[in-house]
Homo-oligomer: 333 residues x 4
């Protein structure tokens, strides 16, 4: 293993002429070689908790922090070490993973009064798995670079179940020569680790995928609902769509109409799965990103509004495929 | 073959108690047994012409009509017989296929002054492959039934190329026991013949599929465009979407971004394929159908408006995947 | 009165050179001169009933029909004469007003088996105050003209209250030289009678107005809701909008926010006023008309979808300004 | 004048118990009493330049800064004093008005390396007339308060013409007891100065108004276009709308259809007025604000997308009423 990592260290030398970095090779090598040195983990929520536990399972000593003491307590009971602040985590670990609910939280954890950057070591690798505005990822990356450390954004797809099972998908943005170092840790938590490009592109990939997902899910719900009202059998209609040009993941893998498929949230009263409120959040990010880049996203924009309305109409905690139910409700005077 | 058809005749007897029909078994059997008796074909346009020629290739004597004399002339030159009106076609053939551009045309061809119903024989099988409002299909079906004949709607998916190659997909609505008789003819022109349910459900299936297709195509164009502006490589983004929950036919089989795939309209300046103006027509049908059934279709409705605007902005004849180009155009002052 | 009517008769002569009609002057004059001859009224619903009663109040003998016997009974009790069919009404009256809920009803009443046209007298004036598709109005007009009679579309704005008070607004389409004859009757029921142009333009004017009304109502609700969430006082915000470029009827005369104005539905739990289900119907007509004329109406289309969803979410019978309440509901997990 | 201002100073004492401020009365009084002491002005663009000149006309010595040297030069030639940075302006003037193109510019001018806050005097009154995200206004206000100064947001409505003529409308947010001091300066540049509430509500009022304006403008364009295609005369239709519930500022004061009104951009090929690109910017702010407050704004959101598309289709510099032209373009194959 060490040999491979050294090689990675050498590979960096080859890249060096392309992009000069403030990170000294020596620092990075020492970090990389000691692969079972402590790994920091900040954010022990529904997703972060099982992710961090998977790191522990893979033999990494985890040094953790969460703003909620109860979250820390639970994690500590499982044998991990808990710190008093992100800064303290950074003092103890030169590889840190963060998993936070929103852009402001991420900014606070990195650049706040007791943030990581207060005590970060040169050459540290900081991986943010939160889903946030890619522009914010880029700003954090700049601040991290100034301290001589490395930042990568690595948002996940897959929910709590995938987090527990360790088969999340990570979409990673950042300097390519650091990708292997990040992958070493991320493969403990996910089955799929994809390099997307420079910092922010991990977020971009996730946002774009989820925007398209929301659009095709609502589209599937509309098409199925219309077809049913026109006399088509739901299973037959799904079959026709799936062998035709209307086919999409929402129609063939996660069909929103009860009775069409088994083992999906629509078969279980829309429980479990990916919550409407989380989809609304991701669509909000897509909206802000598109607005800031002057990119027209008419359907993405309307999808956002629909999930927003669903949140206000009692669907917040249901799976996002419940849009079928939302649209299906019949008019009655 | 005759045996099978007889069997089909018997099968009809079994169904008879379920749904009494005005069609006498004797008539139907005589029609079905004489499978190479003339077949009528009305509507020799871009689609109808190659469809009718495939019937000829399969050995059926075709008796045809089109409102445009030139279309008739061209078809006559290829050896077929041409009549002076739909009524005359109905006098000569007890199986007729119609392929017309819009609901009013279909109404005229069936119930007009020189329409099919003026001279239709009892027990005739009338198959309409036009894409029209399913409510109109049902009205025509009622009028046809009153004359003791059988009507099925069988709109197609697949364009002119598929019509020529004989591998269209037919979505068929009508009495189930007539499906085999219809299939016999339709398999000469298509590789896929799907029974959808009662009259109008063929139209319903097509409309629903195309509405979902339009939505996921625009969604793919939006997601790809946003991703590219955020720094993602188009091919990489397509790959990520296609292994994730954003995957759809528009992203993995017909990607709208030039350079991502070969052999699709986006690789050929959006020429060929399925024209924007045709997609706008189908979305208009979806809109009218949804309005009449009080079905909410917010994304379908906006997709319709977008294709409508594209038609007015010079995209009418381009493939409908050109929505990527339409949305991509950069702002410049 | 007779003098004035003669003058009107003469005025008609002056117009004659502009547009030759199949209606003989003699017939029309005889109809017009006998201004207190019976007037037919078909459709005695929530609107039609008080409208017909206003004709009675103005001294016109009314000959009525409604498909529901109870509606006829109630009207008969108030002293009017009730017939057995639209045809019978046409036999007795050469001026008829129809007030029906939808396009198919109108088609049936005019061209059905016992419809007006079965017994209509040459030169009769038939005024349809239903709100229907202008294309249907034109078709009915053609059928009426063939019988040597005159058809005008004259949909109303104003609800049941205005119908009772006799201050509806009529938007009238049809031959201009017949406008005065129509106005004579319509002014008994409305305070505002506007000539819009040829047949169908009355419907067009109403549909366009109501589409813009729906759009600006939803817009007002969105702007007020956003402003309130951003800390603005609702009354102050309404005042600012009303002195600025955001001003509209929905903001300054019918504000949808409870507490901003008195005497409007928002001050009374959205009771009374113009029902959401009626607005959804008018927007559906706008949608179908726009689709058939290939006119892009992106906001009108989305407004339709929003009112459609409101109907399914329990708002069908509330005033259409309840869209504020619909959008305002807070997200809560 | 001094008496009035003293009174204002006293009024402040009355308010003091309600909201304790870090601003010493003494400082404020000295600022207020010396009403013709220099006033700072930062941002000398199309709007800022004529606004600052109006201050000069009213006898205020203006101390100015702009990031573009040419803008400074032009202003200097007209007799004003130009500084090297916002900080230098703050050193010379205790009342400063800023007029900047976007949120990041405002943040930079206030909190940047050479920003106002580097040298701001205690008790200074800082008024930002930029149109920016109200959340950013609030953040700037906090930073300003920490320095013992006062911040108000005061975005304008009215374009370059109104800026020159001195009849802009200012919507002002901030501590109410400072409103008179702000008004003293703002009335030199505008005819209408409205107090909206706490910091950020000026922006909120402007954003809400412009969002409703965009919605009703597009709605007017759609309704007029549909009506015209249905055979209505544009002037007549406008008249009908304006006496009905569809009436709005866009229909009765700024009609987007050429030939309906004089003296508006639609009468002059959509030149002058309020540019599409500026409307798109304001709608982007509305979108971001709505997203951040989880407020559903379906029509506002779609209006944003439509203006975004217009910018990409060559309408960026045309008046925003050109949406009529954008929607009107006919389909042609």
């Amino acid at each position: 293993m060490a040999a491979v990592l050294m090689l990675r260290g050498s590979a960096r030398l080859l890249y060096k002429h392309r992009k000069v970095r403030a990170v000294s090779i020596a620092m990075v090598c020492s970090r990389a070689m000691a692969s079972k040195t402590p790994v920091g983990f900040i954010g022990l929520g529904n997703m972060g908790n099982p992710m961090a536990k998977n790191l522990v399972k893979h033999g990494y000593p985890v040094v953790a922090y969460d703003v909620f003491p109860e979250a820390c307590k639970e994690f500590q009971d499982s044998g991990a070490q808990v710190m008093d602040s992100p800064a303290d985590v950074a003092e103890r670990a030169d590889r840190i993973i963060t998993m936070l609910p929103s852009s402001p939280n991420a900014v606070e954890v990195y650049t706040g009064a007791n943030g990581i950057l207060k005590k970060v070591k040169k050459g540290s690798l900081l991986i943010d798995s939160s889903t946030i505005d890619p522009a914010v990822s880029k700003e954090i990356a700049k601040a991290v670079e100034k301290m001589g450390a490395v930042f990568m954004d690595a948002p996940v797809s897959g929910g709590v179940g995938a987090a527990r099972a360790g088969n999340l998908t990570f979409m990673v943005g950042g300097v390519e020569q650091e990708f292997d170092a990040a992958k070493e840790l991320l493969t403990c938590m996910g089955s799929n680790v994809i390099y997307c490009g420079e910092v922010g592109t991990g977020q971009a990939a996730k946002i774009c995928n989820n925007m398209l997902l929301a659009i095709s899910m609502i589209g599937t719900a509309e098409a199925m609902n219309l077809g049913i009202r026109l006399g088509l059998d739901p299973k037959l209609l799904a079959k026709i769509l799936n062998m035709s040009s209307g086919r999409c993941w929402s129609s063939d893998t996660y069909n929103p109409v009860p009775g069409v498929m088994e083992g999906v949230p629509s078969a279980n009263n829309y429980q479990g799965g990916f919550g409407t409120t989380l989809m609304a959040k991701d669509l909000g990010l897509a909206q802000i990103t598109a607005t800031n880049t002057k990119t027209p996203v008419p359907l993405g924009s309307l999808a956002h509004q629909i999930y927003r309305m669903m949140c206000a109409k009692g669907y917040a905690l249901k799976d996002f495929s419940a849009v079928f139910q939302f649209l299906r409700e019949e008019e009655n005077l």
